[in-house]
């Protein structure tokens, strides 16, 4: 389970406050616009339709298939939601899924929820939309076109979202770019494979069972040029930035060149950064720690006291 799609839900504590807030701002703007667009398209049907489909994506993430040796492929759902519902509705649905996962199931943090919405909702959807529209145009009437297009959109949505996630971790200093980016890219190349196959399988099934569901949204949403360009720009930008960042991790982390990872691996540095007092060494630091311990004990005692008197009172009153 370690590297199910869960590997892309960033928990709190991994992103710096600045990165989190910027991505929150992006998420708010895009989701706000998506709300408006979907409201104009489906009107009052929006609440039941989006709500049930969000629940459907959430539940659909349970459906897996065994790959080998106990690992299994799962669904994230950005690509299939995009292809069936169009980009704006898909952004809304995935925002709800990611939001509930964070709020209720602690799958992903709350302060970093904006980042998770951007990665899985917005970037995943934009890239899937770009891939699907382009391939539909190129492959046209070919009967296998839907399968290929579904597979590529599914794979690309996972892969690019993972690159974005790795970049955010690197910028926040939670993981060096030269390791985080290749690792995330490698793992999600495989996870994306599962996503692509499931997406393609679902589309082929739906085309056989309910042709109108697959074909109607294509004609209706062919004009989302902005999303198409957005997907293209995101995919290209991340494809260029990621190798650059992983080749020059220092540029991202503002760590001086000579203190970089490679030099450290070759020979250890025996210098302590001046003006840096390690906690626990000087007496002052020890005092602070003691103060922390005392403070913690006081908070405890107060909490336990309140809980204890409450328990006593309810026992006495016979509840």
């Amino acid at each position: 389970m370690l590297f199910s799609p869960v590997a892309m839900h960033i928990p709190d504590g991994f992103l710096s406050v600045g990165v989190s807030l910027v991505l929150w701002a992006v998420a708010i703007v895009v989701v706000g616009y998506a709300l408006k667009r979907v409201n104009a398209d489906v009107g009052e049907r929006q609440v039941p339709l989006m709500g049930v489909l969000a629940a459907c994506i959430f539940a659909g993430q349970m459906l897996n298939f065994s790959v080998t040796g106990g690992t299994s492929g799962h669904l994230m759902g950005a690509a299939i939601a995009t292809i069936l519902l169009g980009p704006w509705a898909a952004i809304l649905v995935l925002t709800c899924v990611v939001g509930v996962q964070a709020l209720i199931f602690q799958d992903g943090g709350l302060l970093v929820l904006g980042a998770n919405i951007v990665n899985m909702g917005i970037i995943g959807v934009a890239v899937a939309y770009f891939a699907h529209r382009t391939l539909q145009k190129l492959l046209g009437k070919w009967s296998g076109g839907l399968f290929v297009s579904g597979f590529v959109s599914g794979w690309l949505s996972i892969f690019v979202a993972a690159l974005a996630c790795a970049l955010q971790l690197a910028i926040s200093g939670a993981s060096p770019a030269n390791i985080a980016i290749p690792a995330m890219a490698g793992i999600h190349t495989l996870i994306g494979f599962g996503e692509g196959l499931i997406t393609a399988g679902a589309l082929v099934f739906l085309k056989a069972a309910r042709r109108d569901l697959v074909e109607a949204p294509q004609a209706q949403l062919a004009d989302s040029k902005a999303v198409w360009i957005g997907g293209l720009v995101i995919a290209v930008a991340l494809a260029i930035i990621s190798p650059l960042a992983s080749a020059h991790p220092d540029g991202l982390e503002w760590v001086a060149e000579e203190r970089g990872f490679l030099d450290l691996a070759r020979e250890p540095l025996y210098e302590i950064i001046p003006d840096y007092v390690l906690p626990g060494v000087s007496n002052e630091a020890l005092a602070t720690i003691l103060a922390g311990v005392v403070g913690a004990l006081i908070v405890f005692a107060a909490a336990a006291g309140v809980a204890y008197t409450r328990a006593n009172r309810s026992r006495r009153s016979g509840i």
């Binding site: 928990p11 049930v52 959430f58 298939f65 679902a202 990872f261 809980a307």
Partner: protein, 270 residues
């Protein structure tokens, strides 16, 4: 995680925390998580105080410290992503690892950064666990509305929650149907059964497609049912009661304590 992951995490108790206004709880929990995020790495005493607040919340909510600590482990696998920090941050060497060709040096600063990241995520998750285990979902929605999340979005999330467990049941039925049609003879133990990888993935894809079909149909039925009960596109909710003086007091005290912690951490450990 398994199936239990999809259960409502709310635990009914009669504690102080459970009865508290959800708006105050959500605000304080978010402020706590922001404080944790603002605390610089290596500010151990501040972490200790934050941990004390976590434990205090766990005790006061009568959920049991063990329950909260255990549920908070969910974010732990992600720590793997931060593991390379151990070696990549420059500083005083602490430990040498020789893995064949690869020679790695763990630095004191790297270890501090790694421990800080993992601790921070653990501390944040604990507070989130207390929040959702002590607040029923409708109360959380009311709090989100009070925090100016768009009404439409809150309405969608509310409906999603209402049908989440129905659709999880659908998914479980699909899984059970596949399971009951897949033979697992004893001699196949350890060997792969069923068709090729692509075939198995397409079966799973068919199940996803099926789930979508059922969801579309269900959304239509729900919409019709809503219309027949007078739905006109507007989601109406009861106005939230004003906050009591004590609730204001707790909110302000909590916020100022967290601000103090954040400022202290930034001043002394940056």
């Amino acid at each position: 995680m398994g199936q239990f992951y999809y259960l409502d995490p709310y635990r009914s108790r009669a504690s102080v925390v459970h009865r508290f206004d959800p708006r105050v709880k959500v605000t304080l929990a978010l402020a706590f998580i922001l404080t944790v995020a603002l605390t610089p790495s290596g500010a151990w005493p501040v972490y200790l105080l934050l941990f004390a607040l976590d434990l205090a919340a766990a005790i006061l909510s009568e959920l049991g410290v063990r329950y909260v600590l255990k549920r908070a482990l969910i974010a732990l696998p992600f720590a793997l992503a931060a593991l390379p920090v151990l070696f990549s941050v420059a500083g005083t060497p602490l430990l040498h690892l020789n893995l064949g060709q690869l020679s790695l040096t763990v630095t004191r600063e790297g270890a501090a950064r790694f421990a800080s990241i993992v601790l921070k995520s653990w501390l944040s998750v604990q507070m989130a666990v207390v929040l959702v285990s002590s607040t029923p979902f409708p109360a959380l929605l009311a709090a989100l509305r009070a925090l100016k999340i768009p009404r439409l979005l809150v309405a969608i999330v509310g409906l999603m929650w209402r049908y989440l467990f129905v659709l999880v049941d659908e998914a479980l039925r699909l899984l059970r149907a596949r399971e009951s049609r897949s033979a697992h003879p004893p001699e196949s133990l350890g060997r792969r059964v069923g068709g090729s990888l692509v075939w198995r993935a397409r079966v799973a894809g068919g199940m996803v497609g099926n789930l979508f079909l059922r969801a579309f149909d269900r959304a239509d039925r729900i919409y019709a049912a809503m219309l027949s009960r007078g739905y006109d596109g507007e989601t109406r909710t009861l106005p939230l009661p004003p906050l009591h003086a004590t609730e204001w007091g707790v909110l302000l005290a909590g916020l100022s304590a967290l601000t103090l912690l954040a400022v202290g951490g930034l001043l002394f450990y940056h």
